[in-house]
Symmetry: C2
Subunit: 246 residues, 2 copies
């Protein structure tokens, strides 16, 4: 399996994908054509065009999967797929209704298709979308996603702001609520960072590092280039409910 | 129908429910016992105890629905119910699994049961939870909620921060995404505010006002005491997809 999972597609003050372009170049190797899945945003053509512009400097040709009469066939003939960010619920619902869950999943797992995701596209690489930050604007058939990794990622991870007067939950509080109901590691990747998975190894990259949340433990800080291969051996347990107190 | 829908249960720097205690007192009238639904948080006893303390100054007795052998029976014998905030997905899933959707809904609609909600409990009064801010930590059977009002509320509404460097969607962007997929009014109630519905009338209350989002229109500012009875005549249309461009 070859995965590159970006926390975000655009750093503040930078062009789309500029912060990750070198890593994408390296990740794609000799592959210079990528099929783009724009379903997380409403305007598929405009989204595909902006991604095409962003990857043009490294000579990568981008084709929107929505333009093919048979999107599944487009995936079966591709060597790399890029699932873009936006709204995770809309993305997953459309992956389900177009049959792309079945078209993409097995080929990535078989090592035949490189998987690049950003934000919502990174959420899809997890067993479920349960650690998305997005609003549930539509209802997918199920929260189950590709499950290329056996843990959850929280993209755009944001540290609590000690000066805030807003009383809504912080990201940390939301993830702790997730861990009340599920015994599954959560990797909160800050903007500017990513996770690369290859050949049984997983390593963080980019800037700003990540925070690891494990049930019953204090959150742990991870360096920007930390080896997190141990997470590939996680045994996720969903819906276990609150820990029993003794 | 008698509804009091709070954006939040605690204002910054204040005690739990202190900002809304007078309004709750008025809303309950002569009723001095309320059944509390604590399912949005993990620790039901602690949550119920904190709500009981918060309403003790106005002489309201609070009983946790989770403590009754038959929660549905507790609802059928109550004159007022309070559905507390926390995680909306956990709340809705538990309302469904305990049968409280069926126990609470008809009695509120018949005017036999006053409905007090805050945050996630306010989301439940809408047709769906699709405008919650919460993380989908568990999967409810369906996103359908009580639907006491024919529009959506976004509690804890937060204006965009022009100084932010975070690239995740603002609340406004999230609600605009909601309106790309659904033709349903959304009332974003800022912290400190609430909506009171009685006898075919709906009026904002509390501080800080609200923002109204309608598909295809610019967001509109509403005064803290605005009459929004017109929203009770909304004809919500879900899953209509992006507007067709001519």
């Amino acid at each position: 399996m070859d995965l590159l999972l970006l926390s975000n597609s655009r750093n503040h003050g930078q062009e789309l994908l500029a912060h990750a372009r070198d890593e994408i170049d390296d990740f794609l190797g000799t592959v210079r054509r990528i099929v783009f899945v724009p379903y997380a945003l409403a305007d598929h053509d405009a989204y595909t065009a902006s991604i095409a512009s962003a990857l043009e400097p490294i000579g990568v040709r981008v084709e929107g999967v929505h333009r093919f009469p048979d999107p599944g066939q487009a995936i079966r003939e591709a060597e790399a797929v890029f699932v873009g960010g936006g709204n995770s619920f809309r993305l997953l619902k459309t992956l389900q209704s177009t049959g792309l869950v079945e078209a993409i999943g097995p080929r990535v797992r078989a090592g035949e298709l490189r998987y690049l995701g950003s934000s919502a596209g990174t959420n899809m690489a997890c067993p479920t979308l349960r650690t998305t930050n997005d609003m549930p604007i539509v209802q997918p058939t199920s929260f189950a996603a590709f499950g290329f990794v056996p843990f959850q990622i929280n993209p755009h991870y944001l540290d609590p702001d000690p000066t805030s007067t807003h009383m809504g939950e912080t990201r940390e509080q939301r993830l702790i609520e997730f861990l009340e109901e599920n015994d599954v590691p959560v990797l909160g990747i800050r903007e500017g960072g990513w996770l690369r998975v290859h050949d049984g190894h997983a390593r963080l990259g980019g800037a700003n590092g990540a925070r690891l949340f494990l049930r019953g433990e204090r959150p742990r800080e991870l360096a920007p280039d930390a080896d997190v291969s141990f997470l590939l051996h996680a045994e996720p347990r969903y819906d276990v409910g609150p820990e029993q107190r003794s």
